[in-house]
């Protein structure tokens, strides 16, 4: 059982010189021989899935998370932590709003401060197409019971004073604001889920790369996995491997409707609080907020070619910084500290895939593309239910792999005409 956090434990440790804190989660060196469910991928989505399997589906002590590197070291640790749910289609709004509702109580649920900060996410409209598209989103969201409101340029300026609404190159014609949106602390999300899952008996095995998936020759059902730390038997496998999903699914003989691209982000030097909200400009591809450490956290675009390099072209960063400097002139002399890339798996309709696969016992949760962090709790919650019941959770059902055969796409790509 992990330590509870609170005033009492803090006071006790303060008196003892903080020498009594224990590791927050167990990290077994090797997996056991067998589990009921093995989750492949120890990012936020995978850890959340394991947590909800143990907590809500009676699988405490019978679940493992296998991670080829360290937990939260992939896209969970590489994104810009934006949380919102104002997607156009009812299926998407239901999925992402399910996540936002879980975010709102997550720190209490996990007994771990994930620093969820609903400071508002404002999406800028720079041209007539943006205005029409975002106003349509506002109305659709209201019909779906998701908050989203339209701001005039002056209201946008009042909400985010550093914004130059008269910017000659990218004038602001209005903005869509979701006040319940915001940011969270990415590492704390991975650590909080790991700690809570571990307390429920989930084995989290790091540096354990899956190298093969074993199947019953007669039924085709999965029977286990081979890993860099030995074989593991499991009747159910949930693949939550983000950019590497195609590689893992190929081990079970499946091709996926996915392509993996580098997506970059960068942070500035830390400064005092200057930026009160999250601003997204899809048209010029710039996302910006300020972390609690004071760094500006800036999201750029994807490279145009598929790659697993976890790097990206410098011209992508330059393009984003040009837009940031035009829209927020006060940032022109800021120095950037570092940039990095993560590998995002994108689907043809830019909506995720959550559900069963043609291989019995094999489940997949992937295709979150450039915007998976915001969905972490909801994704794990509905995927855990899908694995436990062997059939899709109602919120996950529209996001099946079969939609690419039936043609029932959830085309958020066409809806926004940008990555998200």
């Amino acid at each position: 059982m992990s330590q509870r956090f609170g005033l009492l434990s803090l006071a006790r440790e303060a008196l003892r010189g903080h020498r009594g804190w224990q590791p927050q989660w167990r990290s077994p060196e090797r997996p056991r021989d067998a589990y009921d469910v093995v989750i492949v991928g120890g990012g936020g989505h995978g850890l959340a899935t394991a947590y909800y399997l143990a907590k809500e589906h009676g699988l405490a002590g019978r679940v493992a998370v296998l991670e080829k590197g360290w937990i939260g070291g992939g896209n969970t640790g590489r994104n810009t932590t934006i949380i919102r749910s104002n997607y156009l289609f009812p299926e998407s709004a239901a999925l992402y709003d399910h996540a936002v509702k879980l975010w709102e109580g997550l720190s209490q649920d996990l007994d771990y401060n994930v620093m969820f900060s609903p400071r508002g996410v404002m999406m800028l409209a720079h041209n007539v197409h943006d205005v029409q598209s975002f106003r349509r989103h506002v109305h659709a969201n209201r019909l779906d019971g998701v908050d989203n409101e339209w701001l005039t340029p002056a209201q946008a300026k009042a909400y985010c004073p550093p914004l130059d609404i008269d910017c000659a190159r990218h004038p602001v014609l209005g903005a869509a604001l979701q006040r319940r949106g915001g940011v969270a602390r990415h590492d704390a999300v991975a650590w909080g889920y790991a700690r809570a899952a571990s307390a429920l008996g989930v084995d989290i095995v790091q540096n354990c790369e899956v190298t093969g998936i074993d199947r019953d020759p007669a039924t085709g059902a999965v029977t286990g996995l081979r890993t860099s730390k030995g074989a593991v038997r499991a009747g159910r496998i949930g693949v939550v491997a983000a950019g590497s999903t195609s590689l893992v699914m190929a081990m079970a003989g499946l091709r996926m409707p996915l392509e993996s691209f580098p997506l970059q982000a960068l942070v500035s030097e830390p400064v005092k609080p200057v930026f009160p909200c999250v601003v997204m400009s899809n048209t010029v591809h710039a996302y910006i907020s300020q972390s609690d450490k004071g760094e500006l956290v800036i999201g750029a675009g994807t490279d145009q070619y598929p790659s697993y390099s976890q790097a990206g072209g410098v011209q992508i960063l330059t393009h984003t910084l040009e837009a940031i400097c035009e829209m927020f002139p006060i940032f022109r002399r800021m120095r950037m500290l570092r940039s990095w890339g993560g590998i995002v798996d994108t689907t043809p309709d830019r909506s995720p895939i959550i559900g069963t696969t043609p291989v019995p016992g094999l489940f997949v949760n992937c295709g979150w593309g450039t915007g998976g962090f915001k969905a972490t709790p909801g994704s794990g919650h509905v995927f855990a239910a899908t694995i436990a019941r062997g059939e899709p959770h109602p919120i996950a059902a529209p996001f099946s792999l079969e939609r690419f055969t039936t043609g029932r796409l959830i085309d958020e790509a066409a809806a926004a005409a940008v990555a998200h």
């Binding site: 590497s244 195609s246 590689l247 091709r255 996926m256 409707p257 996915l258 392509e259 993996s260 145009q304 070619y305 598929p306 790659s307 697993y308 390099s309 072209g313 410098v314 011209q315 798996d345 043809p348 690419f404 055969t405 039936t406 043609g407």
Partner: protein, 93 residues
């Protein structure tokens, strides 16, 4: 930024090119004879390998022509670029 050898124009910066997806995907000659699953495979399923990848590029800010490339998705190194009618270059050791 990548340096890409257009088979017609020579080495040019990546900014002049548009990536056009996996190469050698052939549109079925008789689409109406395809099952839904076969059509979905043609439209959507991709290899997405970590390793050598045959892909299409187009020199949009140059000669405008399509060509194919053999590029490693782990290192982004190009082994070759080739015209559609050329024999496919071997995958390097």
């Amino acid at each position: 930024m990548l340096l890409i050898r257009c088979p017609w124009c020579g080495d040019r910066a990546e900014l002049e090119f548009r990536h056009c997806g996996e190469a050698h995907i052939v549109r079925p000659a008789d689409p109406s004879a395809q099952s839904d699953a076969e059509w979905a495979e043609y439209l959507y399923l991709r290899e997405n390998p970590r390793g050598w990848h045959r892909e299409r590029w187009r020199h949009i800010h140059g000669c405008g022509r399509f060509f194919n490339a053999l590029r490693h998705t782990g290192t982004d190194r190009f082994a070759a670029t080739y015209r559609a009618e050329d024999p496919r270059p071997e995958i390097p050791e």
